[in-house]
C-alpha cells in the first residue's frame, strides 16, 4: 500500500448502521412500546401520590351563584378542594388568546367546564368528594348555533361579543369573475363535530421538587407553552416550573393546549404532595377540544372551457365558548376554501363564533379538513355541469409554479398538486377505474 493510500481506519466494521435518508428503519421507540415499557402519563406515580378529580359544569351557560365545598373538605382522605378563589395567579389560559378560565369563576360557559378540583388519597374518595360539592347555578340563555350567535340580540357568551374573529380574503374582482363565468354552482355545506379520541386520554402528574421547582409530567404537544401557562396561573416565575413530556398516546391537536397541567399543578402546590389526574374517556370527551362544526355558503364560477373564474364564500365556525385555536382554524379556512386551484378572483369571509357548545380547537386538518369538504364537492358539481371528467377538471385548474394562491402568493417549484393528480390518473389507468359508470352490483 502506497503512502498516499494510507488508510487511517477502515470503516467497514462499523458500517452496519449506515442507512441513507429514505430508509424505513424501525422506530426508535418501537421496542419500549411493544413490550409495554413505554411510560404514559397515567403510568407514572410518586410515593404519597394523591389523585385529582374535577367537578364539571352540567350547564352550558349559567351563573355560578354559590359553591359549597365544606362537606368535601371534611371527608377523610381528602387533602384539598379548590375553586376559582384559590387560584394564586391569574385564572386564565388559552393557546392563542388567553380567554379561558381554569376554574369557573362567575359563570360557566359549556357543559364539562371545570368548576372545582379535589385531591384525595384514592380515586374513589376523590370521586365521592366531587359529588358532595354543592353548586348553585342560575341557568342563562345559551348560544347553540353560530348563526344565532352573531345576531344583535343573542346572549353574550363572552363579554366582548360573540364574534371571535372575522377574516377577509379579497383577490381580484370577484363580481367581474362571476360575470365572466358561464356556469356557477352555489351551495350550503354543513360539517359536523368530531372528537379526536386519542387512545390515551389526557393526563399528568405534578409535584414540588426539593429545590422548590414545580415539576409536571404530562401527555402534551408542547411543554414550553405548558410551563408558561402554568406559571401564570400559579403566580410562579417561569423558570421555577419544569414541564416534561411523557410518552404520548396520540394527540392529533387535542393536546396542543394545556389539558390537565394547570389542574395538577394547583393541587400539588396546595397539598405539597404529588398529584396525578388522568381523565376517563367521558371526562376527556366532555372537557377537551373537538373539531369545529362549520356552516359554509359558497359559489364558484367557471367558463364553458372549464376555467375557474371566481369564488365567493362565507364560513361560520362554531368554536365553543373559548378560542383555543379556533381563531386560527377558522382563519385558515378562509384562505383555503378555494382549495389547491387557481382563482383569478376570490372573495371569502370566515367568522369564528363563540357559542355554548363543546369547545373546538386544533384537530388534524385544522380547518382545511372542512374547507376540502366544500371545495371538492364544488369542483365535482362544476365538472358535472360542464361535462368534464372530474380529474381533468382539477388538472386544468390546479395551482402550478407561477400561479397564485388565494392570498396572491405565487407558487414556486415545490407546488405538487398536479403531480398528485397525475399519480391518481395513472392509478386509475392501472386499475381500469372510471367515473360515473353507475355500475350496479347485486
Amino acid at each position: 500500500m502506497s503512502d498516499t493510500q494510507e488508510i487511517i481506519e477502515i470503516k467497514f466494521a462499523d458500517h452496519r448502521g449506515y442507512v441513507p435518508i429514505g430508509s424505513s428503519v424501525i422506530r426508535e421507540d418501537a421496542l419500549a412500546k411493544v413490550t409495554g415499557q413505554a411510560e404514559y402519563s397515567g403510568d407514572i406515580s410518586r410515593p404519597g401520590m394523591l389523585h385529582g378529580k374535577v367537578l364539571m359544569s352540567p350547564f352550558p351557560h349559567a351563573l355560578v351563584k354559590h359553591i359549597d365545598t365544606s362537606k368535601a373538605a371534611r371527608m377523610q382522605g381528602v387533602h384539598a378542594v379548590l375553586t376559582a378563589k384559590d387560584i394564586p395567579g391569574e385564572n386564565v389560559f388559552g393557546i392563542a388568546i388567553a380567554d379561558q378560565q381554569v376554574l369557573a369563576d362567575k359563570k360557566v360557559r359549556f357543559v364539562g367546564e371545570p368548576v372545582a378540583l379535589v385531591a384525595a388519597e384514592d380515586p374513589f374518595i376523590a370521586a365521592e368528594a366531587v359529588r358532595s360539592i354543592k353548586v348553585e347555578y342560575e341557568p342563562l340563555q345559551g348560544v347553540f348555533d353560530p348563526l344565532a350567535g352573531i345576531k344583535e340580540d343573542a346572549p353574550r357568551v363572552q363579554e366582548q361579543g360573540n364574534i371571535l374573529l372575522h377574516t377577509k380574503v379579497r383577490k381580484g374582482d370577484y363580481l367581474k369573475g362571476f360575470a365572466d363565468a358561464d356556469v356557477v354552482v352555489e351551495n350550503v355545506y354543513r360539517t359536523h363535530g368530531q372528537d379526536h379520541v386519542p387512545l390515551e386520554p389526557e393526563g399528568g402528574i405534578a409535584w414540588i421538587e426539593n429545590d422548590g421547582v414545580l415539576t409536571i409530567y404530562s401527555s402534551s404537544q408542547y411543554v414550553f407553552r405548558d410551563r408558561k401557562q402554568v406559571a401564570r396561573v400559579l403566580n410562579l416565575p417561569v423558570n421555577r416550573v419544569r414541564s416534561v413530556n411523557t410518552t404520548v398516546g396520540g394527540g392529533f391537536g387535542r393536546k396542543d393546549d394545556v389539558t390537565v397541567e394547570i389542574l395538577v399543578s394547583l393541587l400539588a402546590s396546595a397539598t405539597l404532595k404529588p398529584v396525578r389526574l388522568v381523565y376517563n374517556r367521558h371526562e376527556s370527551m366532555m372537557t377537551q377540544t373537538h373539531r369545529h362544526p362549520t356552516i359554509t355558503r359558497v359559489r364558484t364560477g367557471a367558463t364553458k372551457e372549464g376555467k375557474l373564474t371566481s369564488m365567493e364564500g362565507v364560513v361560520y365556525g362554531d368554536t365553543g365558548p373559548y378560542s383555543s385555536l379556533g381563531i386560527f382554524v377558522i382563519k385558515k379556512m378562509a384562505l383555503h376554501l378555494g382549495g389547491p386551484y387557481y382563482f383569478p378572483n376570490y372573495k371569502c369571509d370566515s367568522i369564528s363564533v363563540y357559542t355554548n357548545n363543546p369547545i373546538a380547537g386544533a384537530f388534524r386538518g385544522f380547518g382545511i379538513f372542512q374547507s376540502a369538504i366544500v371545495h371538492e364537492q364544488q369542483m365535482d358539481e362544476l365538472a358535472a355541469k360542464l361535462g368534464i371528467d372530474p380529474l381533468e377538471f382539477r388538472l386544468k385548474n390546479c395551482l402550478r409554479e407561477g400561479l397564485s394562491f388565494s392570498t396572491g402568493q405565487v407558487m414556486n417549484e415545490a407546488c405538487g398538486i398536479a403531480a398528485t393528480l397525475e399519480r391518481l390518473k395513472e392509478y386509475m389507468a392501472e386499475h381500469s377505474l372510471r367515473f360515473s359508470r353507475n355500475m350496479e352490483v347485486v
Binding site: 424505513s24 424501525i26 422506530r27 421507540d29 418501537a30 421496542l31 419500549a32 412500546k33 411493544v34 413490550t35 409495554g36 415499557q37 413505554a38 411510560e39 404514559y40 397515567g42 403510568d43 388519597e121 384514592d122 380515586p123 374513589f124 379526536h196 379520541v197 386519542p198 387512545l199 390515551e200 386520554p201 410518552t247 404520548v248 398516546g249 396520540g250 392529533f252 376517563n280 374517556r281
Partner: protein, 160 residues
Amino acid sequence: MINNQKDVLMDLVINNKHISIRAGGGRCLLDFLREDLSLMGTKEGCGEGECGSCTVLLDGKAVLSCMTPMERAIGREVTTIEGVGRPGNLHPLQQAMMEEGGVQCGFCTPGMIMSGVELLNRKSNPNRDEIVEGISGNLCRCTGYRKIITAIERAAEKMS
C-alpha cells in the same frame, strides 16, 4: 386501601409466576394489575369495555381487564404484555409489530398484541378475515390497522 370493600386473598399465576397477596377487593382486574402489581403495560383507554387497550389473557383467553372483576382471576392464570416477551426475547408478534410499522403512539399496542397472541395461539395460520375479527375489539386511532394486520400475518408465517 381503595374503597370500603373487604380485602381478598389474590392467589393466582401472573406471567408464569405464582403470587399470593391480600388486596382491597371489588375492583376490576385492570386496577389490580396496575395499582397493586405495578404492571403498567396494560392500558386503560375507556374503562367501559369499548376499546380493548386493557386486554389480557385469562387462562389463555383474551378478556377486557377493565370489565373483569379481580376476584375472577383467583386460582387462574393471567398473562399481560410483560409476560409475552422481553427485549432480547421477543414474541414473534412483537418483533413483527416493530418491523411492519404496526406501532405509532403505542397506547393500543399492548392490548392489540394480547389479542393477536391469543389469535395466534388458537389458529396457526389465520386468514385476513380471521385476523380482522380477532382484533376488531381493539381500537387504534393512529395506524389505520393495516400494518397491524400485516404484522399478525408475518408473525403467523414465522411461527409456523
